[in-house]
Structures are given as structure tokens and as C-alpha cells.
Amino acid sequence: MIWFVLGRMGAFLATLLVTMLLAYWLSSPLPGAHSVGLLRWFGGMMMGDFGTGAGGSVGPLLAGALAVTVPLALFALLIALVVGTGLGYGVAVVPGPIGDRLVRALGGLGMAVPGFWLGMMLVVAFAGTLHWLPPGGFVPWRQDVGAALRSLVLPAVALAVPTAAALALDARDAFSRVVRAGWFEATLAGGATRREALRGPALRCVAVTLLGPLARHFATLIVGTVVIESVFYLPGLGRLLLDGIAARDAVTVRAAIVTLVLLTAGTVFLIRLLALWLDPRIRAGAPQ
């Protein structure tokens, strides 16, 4: 078990380290990149000092950007998780080809629609025609929490749809494997209703299978905020990164990339760690 945790942590740190080296090395030919050495840059970031870019000190800029990006990503993750696994569970609870085909069709379509285009169409519908929600921009949290939340609704939906679709397909696969397993039939034969049988071990079994896809989809979603923030003119991490690239500002680009990968790799790490809680084989120290 300790080896499992150490292995996951090692993978997390290795991902972060490789990205830092890549970011440092690839941005070193840019102007302003040589103002700081590799080790001092590492050390500075550990202490929260990200250097000074074209737009001033990067640390406060990053903090401001994260105040937009992290709530947006969490909002979208929540929608994707509930809708995606909910659809998969629905197919398992109500057996029959109709629901299954519907979920597969919806999943395929949802994965094919580009999220940023969906965002634009949502703006046209819900902001342009119906005037229910703002078309873009961000009201700072300190000014008005309600308005800030409202400006994140459409971006979160646009961000969540492709992930929810992919997750629904994965959940449908995982549930259908469980439902066809011998031990599940035995539980039903023992007198449990389908709904009862799906709770407990079945749900746990599905959750273990879903951890891998979940980690991958969530990493993609977090990086997808870069694109969606452009659609909705949100002053988040993506804006900072793209502005930095346009200005060829090595300090900002490095800081934004490392922060982005810290978020994705951290999420992947935490999700994989959930296996510890879900999978008793790992707790017992079984070889994987």
C-alpha cells in the first residue's frame, strides 16, 4: 500500500519535473528568459515567487487567474461527473436496448461536437436571444458572488459536455460489464432487486474501472479551460498563457504552463489515489 502511494506520488512529481524542464528549456531562447537560472527558478516557485513578466509580477496575476479557472473547472467537473456517470447508471438500472442506444448516440454526438463551438452557440441562444445569462466577461468575486457564478454557468456547460459524453460511454461500458458478470447474476438470483444489486460491490467495481478514464478526461477538461476562457472572454489561466505566448514572454508562459500541469497532474494523482479507498486489493498490498 505504501508502495502504491509512493509510486503514484513519484509519477506525479516526475510529470511535474519533466514539464518544468521542458518549459524552461523550450522557452529559454525567448527574450527575458535568461534573467533567471534553472535552480533559482525552481526555488523561487517553491517559495511562491514566479518572477516578473511583461505584465508585472506573475505571482499575483496567477492568483487572480486561478480564482477564475479553478471554480470554472470544478463547476464543469461536477456537471460532467453527475451527468456522465448518471447516464451510465441509468442504462444499467433500466435494462433494454432503447436507453442503451440513446446513451450511446448522445455520447457519440457529445464527443463529436467541439466544446468551443457549443459555447458560442450557447451564447447566441441564452445570452443573445433569451437574455438569461451574460454573453461573456467576468464579474470579480469580491464585487458580486452571484454575478460571478452566473458568468461561469455557460462556460462550465460548454466545458462539461464533451467530458460528460466521454464519461457516459465509459460508464455505460463499465456498468454493462458488471451487469453481465456471473456474480451479479448470482446476487439477483439471491433475491436482490436490480437496484439493490447495483449498489454496494457493483458500484465499487464500476468506480474502480472508471478511475483511469476519469483521470484522463478530467485532465483534458482542465486544459480545455484555456480554449473555453477564450470563447467567454474570462480572465483565467488560459488568457494569461495565450497573452504570454503572443507577447513572447518567457516568464509568464513558464509560470502558466507549470501551474496548468500542476492542476492536471494533481487531479490525476488524487483520482488515482482514490483506488486506495475503493479497491481492497491495493490496501491488502496485492501485486497489481
Partner: protein
């Protein structure tokens, strides 16, 4: 996984496969036709005719500069196909030999595959594209390399697992007994059997590459004007969306159609060989 009963491929899925292949070919034709002919030259501006709806002269209307939308979308479809195909080829050229190596000669190569799969699970192609764009400037090549590199582990894992499974089959043993070995065995006995599976995987990755190209071009990390891409068209259209939302529809619909057609073709092809698709290569498990 052999204990899972397989869905029988239905007549419906056969029809779906056939129609998605036809749609792919039609879109390819539309894209490649734009090399020699478009209804209007893409560079020609006609501000007097800007922002028209569909008319007899311009079937899909004109954009804010008076360019013909149909011509632009045709060029955009071409860009989508070419960039996605090159990106997928980059991934396949490195990933497939790596997977074969891991299955046959050097199991240690499996460690490289696991490391790559683990890394790119947490670092999607946009991050790589951003780094490359910061250094070399944005171009279609940025997208090809970034998306291609991130596709390497997917190809490698598919190849390795498929080759290992194939080696357990009776006819491969028979071929071995008959004296076939090494590359000869792979080329004549293993690869023909795997080609459909690998093609299905490649189509799936290509559909994702089309989406990635559009998104990267949209945020300015991909194709640059004067070249045309569906992502760039959407960026232009968004600026005028408040006055002319119709401009958003065609590029986005074309994009969705391409991804659906390629994705469904890949999915349908995969179902002809292994109906429960997407499990073996799902997580790059070592």
C-alpha cells in the same frame, strides 16, 4: 475479458459503418476539390457583398469581408483532414514500432510506453502545442507535432496488446512451426490480421486530432491566416456573432460532421473485430 458476451454486430451498425465511410469520402472529396476548384477564389474580397445570407450566387452566404462561405469551408475541411492525418501519421510512425518492439523483442520498451502514457494522461496536447508555439511561433506544424506526440502511447499500447494477443493464436504457432520467424512472421501473419484493428484506432485518434486542430487554431496556436481552418473561421465568425449568428453554423457543423464521420467509421470498423471496443487501450495499462 473473454468472459464478456459480445454484442452481435447488428444490421443497423453495418449500415452506420457504411454510411459513415461514405460521409468521410464525400467530405474528403469536398476538401480535396478545393485544391483545384472552389466556387470563388478564397482570397477575393467583395465588401459590397459582405454578410449576405444564402443566395443563388453564394449558396452558404458570405462573411464579413464578402468572401464566399462555401469556398472557405471547403478549404477548412481540407486543412482539418491534412493536419489531422499528418498528426496521426506521426503518432503511428513512432508508436507502432515501439509497440511491436515491446511485444516481441524488448519487453523493456514497455516501460517507455508506460512512462509516455502516464505523462500524456496528465499533459494533453494543448500544453505541448503552447510550449512549441511560444518557441517557434504558431503554425499548422505545431499542431501536427503536438497532437502526433501525444498519440504515440495510444498507438504503442494498441499495437503491443494486439500483437501479444495475436501471438497466442493457433495459426501463428503453425506459421512458427513452418519456419516463419521475425519480421517475416510479423509481416505475413500478424499484421494482416491486426490491420483492421490498427486502422480503427487510427481513425479514432484522427477524429480527436481534427477537434484538437480546430481548437488550437481557434485560440491562435495552430493554422495562421492567410491559410484557412475551421477553427479560424469560427474565430472570425464569433467577432460578428452578435449581428450575424448564422456565420457560426456552417464551420461548426462541418467540423462536427467530420469528427462524427471519422469517429463512427473507426468505431464501426472496431466493432467488426471486437465488439466491446475501447477497453484494451483505454488507459495504457502496462
Amino acid at each position: 475479458m473473454s468472459d464478456v458476451p459480445l454484442d452481435r454486430p447488428s444490421r443497423f451498425s453495418a449500415l452506420l459503418l457504411r454510411s459513415s465511410v461514405v460521409a468521410c469520402l464525400a467530405l474528403l472529396l469536398l476538401g480535396f476539390a478545393s485544391i483545384v476548384w472552389t466556387p470563388y477564389p478564397v482570397g477575393s474580397l467583395d465588401v459590397a457583398a459582405a454578410m449576405q445570407g444564402p443566395t443563388g450566387a453564394h449558396w452558404l452566404g458570405t462573411d464579413q469581408l464578402g468572401r464566399d462561405v462555401l469556398s472557405l469551408v471547403m478549404k477548412g475541411i481540407l486543412t482539418s483532414f491534412v493536419v489531422a492525418a499528418v498528426a496521426t501519421a506521426v503518432g503511428a510512425l513512432i508508436g507502432l514500432p515501439l509497440g511491436l518492439l515491446a511485444a516481441r523483442r524488448a519487453p523493456r520498451a514497455g516501460l517507455i510506453i508506460s512512462a509516455l502514457a502516464g505523462y500524456f494522461a496528465a499533459v494533453p496536447s494543448l500544453v505541448i502545442a503552447a510550449l512549441l508555439a511560444a518557441l517557434f511561433g504558431s503554425s499548422a506544424a505545431t499542431v501536427m507535432i503536438a497532437v502526433g506526440i501525444t498519440a504515440i502511447p495510444a498507438f504503442a499500447v494498441t499495437m503491443r496488446n494486439a500483437a501479444r494477443a495475436a501471438d497466442r493464436l493457433g495459426y501463428v504457432d503453425a506459421a512458427r512451426l513452418a519456419g516463419s520467424a521475425g519480421w517475416d512472421l510479423t509481416r505475413h501473419h500478424t499484421l494482416p490480421d491486426l490491420s483492421r484493428r490498427l486502422l480503427a484506432r487510427a481513425l479514432g485518434l484522427m477524429a480527436a486530432a481534427v477537434l484538437a486542430e480546430a481548437a488550437l487554431s481557434y485560440v491562435g496556436l495552430g493554422t495562421q491566416p492567410p491559410a484557412t481552418s475551421l477553427g479560424l473561421l469560427l474565430r472570425d465568425a464569433q467577432a460578428y456573432a452578435a449581428f450575424e449568428p448564422d456565420l457560426l453554423i456552417m464551420p461548426g457543423a462541418a467540423l462536427t460532421l467530420i469528427v462524427l464521420a471519422i469517429g463512427l467509421a473507426g468505431h464501426g470498423l472496431a466493432r467488426t473485430v471486437e465488439p466491446a471496443f475501447g477497453q484494451e487501450a483505454a488507459d495504457g495499462d502496462p
